[in-house]
Amino acid sequence: MLGFEASGASTLPLLAYSPPGWGATLLAGLWNSVQIAVGAFGLGILIGMGGAFGKLYGGPVLKDLLAIYTTVVRAVPELVLILILYFAVTDAVNQLLLSFGYSRIQISGVAAGIAVLGVVQGAYATEVLRGAILSVPAGQIEAARSMGMPPLLLARRITLPLMMAAAVPGLANLWLVATKDTALLAVVGFAELTQATRQAAGTTKAFFTFFMAAGVLYLMLSLVSTLIFSRIERWARRGQRTMGR
């Protein structure tokens, strides 16, 4: 069935890289997806770092606000959040620009996608990193504090290196979620891989071939990332005692 649509003719040549084929369109879409995933993942880790330290060491009001943030984001579907943030962010930026006397702008799809998915990723990253910080033996942090280490130096030298090993599996999962969540941006019409695929499939009517091809691309992305993250985890666990080996 693969490669043959209703007409019976092979549709595989449609995947060729140069123009009669749509390969270039798909790869451009993949590149957009990877860009957004990397950006959103990075933004998510930044928000998550702030959130995790805030949840553990912040004041009571900050803790409550962060609890509301993580609860709401994890309870509302990403698709709804994407629409709300997409409209709200575009509106807010334009209101701001208009009030300063500039004209309206169209926010780039990549920037909007990164911002929206980053806020979503941040909520999950907060929980992952909070758990990882808690896995650092309290004595280590207390010892550093008693040596008079300032908080930032303590975070850089003690907490962050020690929490890495515990954080990597959770972050790897989040990265996979990020790559898959970029597909949701197709719904707001952004030209990432899934949207590019739908465009190509809609034009050529070779739905099956194109969706299978996109699936293979996503699968390869996830397999490669799994490999890389297992390397990173082994590196983060270096120097840890292993059982029996």
């Binding site: 009571p60 579907p77 709804v80 969540d181 597909a183 499939a201 996503y218």
Partner: protein, 259 residues
């Protein structure tokens, strides 16, 4: 619970939230809620979201049990396909799987005469079967992996004891192995159900009318942007709260030993 809320700073927060709710009730446009057409649509949408969630969770779990079993103890010719299936489902976006089924296979069916003439055709022509299949397979893929761990986690002594008592294999599975494995996944099942709820709005992209699709319809008809989306967020948060409470009650009915 109530005592935790009666702290001054939380009282201030609650007051702020209430003020925000009152402000949005007066300052934003909610007149479309009075329209009987939209009211009917909203109830249909909520109902569709609910049944798709429940049906796909049940079918998905039913598929996840053999998938987990095959991966945990099955021979290689069962374990390998199960593992590949789970990797594919977990490695590609659900939206893509859904569109592959609906646009890919869905447009393939009309070209096969015997399918078009069969009694199933009126059903296959609609969108919801594809939504149910895609979402169920997604649950099966993710939960199959979870069930694999759960089956492996049941203490060996339990199974050996049952075998030593001469229990037939199927009875052992039904009475000892499956209940203990399910007991192990129960704490994560609530979270997985919430994730599944968050996946349901994707069906709106293949023309199934769930609550998300209703909000989109209102936006298109009336050009009101934020109000339907706010309603959506509130609806989903309420359903999430319901799921969490339900599973908390469910878990409390199964005693577990806490060391």
């Amino acid at each position: 619970m109530l005592k935790e809320l009666m702290i001054p700073r939380r009282l201030v927060m609650i007051a702020l939230v209430l003020a925000l709710a009152v402000w949005s009730a007066y300052a934003l446009r909610w007149d479309w809620l009075g329209n009987p057409k939209y009211q009917a649509l909203i109830w249909t949408g909520i109902w569709n979201t609910f049944w798709i969630l429940i049906v796909t969770m049940v079918i998905g779990m039913a598929l996840a049990i053999p998938l987990g079993l095959a991966q945990a103890v099955g021979p290689w010719y069962l374990a390998a396909p199960a593992r590949i299936f789970c990797s594919i489902i977990r490695g590609t976006p659900l939206l893509l799987q859904l569109w592959l089924l609906y646009y890919g296979i869905g447009t393939f069916f009309p070209s096969i005469p015997w399918i078009r003439e069969s009694d199933l055709w009126p059903i296959l022509r609609q969108a919801w079967p594809y939504a149910v299949v895609a979402l169920s397979l997604s649950v099966a893929g993710y939960e199959g992996e979870v069930m694999r761990g759960a089956f492996k986690g049941v203490p060996h002594g339990q199974l050996e004891a049952a075998r030593a008592m001469g229990m037939p294999r199927f009875t052992l599975f039904r009475r000892i192995w499956l209940p203990q494995a399910l007991h192990r996944v129960l704490p994560t099942l609530g979270g997985e159900t919430v994730l599944q709820l968050k996946a349901t709005p994707l069906v709106a992209t293949i023309t199934v009318i769930d609550i998300y699709a209703v909000a989109g319809r209102v936006r298109q008809d009336t050009f009101i942007v934020y109000e339907p989306l706010l309603l959506l967020a509130v609806v989903y948060m309420s359903i999430t709260g319901l799921i969490v409470l339900l599973f908390r009650w469910f878990e409390s009915r199964f005693p577990s030993r806490v060391a």
